[in-house]
Symmetry: C2
Subunit: 220 residues, 2 copies
């Protein structure tokens, strides 16, 4: 048995800040492909993934539990009964790989935190689940570091951009198109997304039939 890895997931109307580039249906599938990449990385690191989802949805590569409570309440209820190690890892980390997760769960400290971009917490590893309580939302990284400190737990901060890079906004898709290796990158590419260079800065654009028409009409 590997370390249990809890992956919270929101299947309905996910990633709303990507609405400018993806339809609601595309966002749903995209969120599932990112989850799939995280599950793959977690399995590769020898962990046992369990998805805890706010709504039922048909995802097969890992067991899914539908949770009635909020994220913090659900996780803290789970943690309270866990005397062994546990990993909590977010579902929107499509650059996650087994090496990075391996570094997290190899920590010699009581707690290992992986900060997300903008103050969040993308992964928490606990040698003993019941020793901790989570407090997501807002600047949760600072809250989690303080909770560890207040409980006298030694705390590691694992330095990995692969787990630091959560995908919320259009600009984050650049990272995925450059560094991704999994199904979520392929999904974006199949939709026609590619890197673009504008005024020296790297962005993304989506090839559509209309822009194809546009570029061919330029030949006239």
């Amino acid at each position: 048995m590997g370390v249990p890895a809890i992956i919270p997931f929101k299947p309905q109307n996910p990633k709303s800040r990507l609405s400018c580039v993806l339809t609601p249906g595309e966002r749903e599938i995209f969120a599932q492909t990112m989850l799939s990449d995280v599950v793959g990385a977690v399995l590769g690191a020898g962990c046992d993934p369990k998805v805890v989802s706010t709504e039922p949805f048909p995802f097969l590569p890992a067991p899914v539990e539908t949770i009635p409570l909020g994220l913090n309440e659900t996780l803290n209820k789970e943690l309270a009964g866990m005397e062994g190690p546990v990993l909590i890892i977010m579902a929107d980390l499509p650059l996650a790989d087994s090496q990075a997760i391996g570094r997290v769960i190899a920590t010699p400290m009581d707690v290992a935190l992986v900060p997300g971009r903008g103050g969040g917490t993308n992964a928490i590893y606990l040698q003993r689940g019941s020793s901790f309580r989570v407090d997501y939302y807002g600047a949760s990284f600072l809250k989690h570091a303080r909770i560890a400190r207040e409980r006298g737990l030694s705390c590691d901060v694992v330095d990995t951009f692969r787990l630091h890079t959560d995908v919320d906004e259009k600009e984050d898709l650049v990272e995925l198109l450059i560094h991704g290796r999994g199904t979520s990158r392929k999904f974006l590419e199949d939709l026609g997304f590619e890197l673009s260079l504008e005024k020296g800065r790297v962005g993304i654009r989506r090839k559509t039939e209309s822009t194809d028409v546009e570029s061919s009409s330029r030949k006239d």
Copy 2:
């Protein structure tokens, strides 16, 4: 003698995308404090820093060479004569620490790249300087990975958010206020910058005399 570490630097009108929150003079000092943090991290990792600057400026903690050519031309001229190892590291990485740099220079590969956010390259380590040529600007990470491949050099990508996080825009200052430990964080705090929470997202705000007046007038 440690590994030579070349740090390109632009002292005049640096970080123009921070103009919305910093005056030109503040940006100049801020760029120098970030450079100072990078120099400290480089020294801590046992490297010998050398700043190559586009303009003369009075920076004491490391030798400074003023370069007449463009960045790529200057660096490639330097590399051509180097048969030993060399590190090239950007000056706008205020989260840099010795551990992350140590991981870069400990690579068993011919080349180690650290990607920056948005497709750039924040650090390049070469076992043999003359084996490589740099090509900065645009999606330079992809260009550098290709140059290594074309030259038959084995290439490592070092997974570190501390060296991945370059500071260009206002949002990047959030990372510095959360994870920074050096002079550039202190500089921002002395200017009155602090984290703020708006609609659940972490941002920054600057306490000024006028906002102090504003908040006290609210008590009326």
